[in-house]
Amino acid sequence: MKLFVTYLIGVVFGLGISISGMGNPAKVLNFFDVAGTWDPSLAFVMGGAVFVAAVGYQLVFRRARPIFEPSFNVPVSRRIDTKLVAGSAVFGIGWGIAGFCPGAALPVIGTGRSDVLIFMAALVAGLLLAKALLQLNLKPTLRRPAAGN
């Protein structure tokens, strides 16, 4: 039952991506091409989504806990660091090259199109590569305080 509800939430998200045009790289890239074939549609997608989420979250957070789980699992970090900014900057470069972002590409896997699958495979490769790099990086930082003591 819980999983079915979560499945339906996925359907709502996927329909949103399908109807809005977010899953269409041509539309996404045209949003950013103000100097060329500009298509402002994406602003309406983001505006609509942020509006509903902003109002809805206010209502949800009045509850002590979510319906299925004992507590909310929300990021609490407030640190603005190089990792956040550099990572986001790099993401934007990739988005500008490919025209797909992860949330838009996931639902349109369901169209079975090979270009979506190629992007998803490359995305997963990138995720795994980043994870491996982060782990490599983590070890020296973990050792350093021990060596200092």
């Binding site: 819980k2 979560t6 499945y7 939430i9 996925g10 709502v12 998200f13 996927g14 329909l15 949103g16 991506i17 109807i19 809005s20 045009g21 899953g23 269409n24 790289p25 890239l29 100097a35 549609s41 309406f44 505006g47 989504a49 509006f51 509903v52 989420a53 979250y57 979510p66 299925f68 699992n73 990021p75 970090s77 956040l84 900014v85 990572g87 790099v90 934007g92 470069i93 990739g94 988005w95 500008g96 090259i97 490919a98 797909f100 992860p102 949330g103 996931l106 349109v108 369901g110 169209t111 270009d115 190629i118 992007f119 490359a122 997963v124 490769a125 990138g126 995720l127 590569l129 790099l133």
Partner: protein
């Protein structure tokens, strides 16, 4: 050229927002594709894996439902070459991992929670995407 679709895009956006609110209400989670995908690839536990799999299964079903109602698949026009899809995909994977999120997690969920981290992340990637598109289309002329 793509057609300007304010109403369809607004309606789709409302659904994306609704899904984000529902996931928080039921599961207590941020609807961020980066985090959901990362947890699906390397799950912390089987219980943590199941809801992610159910959510993604729902997402993937959606285009077929769209097809059933409208008689057409969601339109996908790919204005870039396959090597660009591959290179772009890898770069996106690296960036969203280091940046801890993408358009859904930072851009929708984080911004609507007024998370300063997410607002900074969103402004950053919107800017670099715009610059990248400008360089590719108007400087290099691809």
């Amino acid at each position: 050229m793509t057609e300007f679709t304010p109403w369809a895009s607004l309606f789709g956006g409302l659904l994306i927002g609704l899904a984000s609110v529902l996931l928080m209400a039921f599961q207590g989670r941020i609807l961020g594709a980066t985090g959901i995908l990362a947890g699906l690839i390397s799950p912390a536990s089987s219980g943590d894996w199941a809801w992610r799999a159910a959510l993604v299964a729902g997402m993937i079903t959606a285009p077929a439902i769209y097809l059933a109602f409208t008689g057409a698949w969601p339109q996908i026009e790919k204005p870039v070459s396959t090597p660009m899809l591959v290179i772009g995909g890898i770069i996106v994977g690296l960036g969203v991992t280091y940046g801890s999120g993408c358009t859904s997690g930072h851009g929708v969920c984080g911004v609507s929670r007024l998370s300063v981290r997410s607002i900074v992340a969103t402004l950053t990637f919107m800017a670099t995407t715009a610059v990248t598109v400008y360089v590719i289309r108007h400087v290099i002329g691809a």
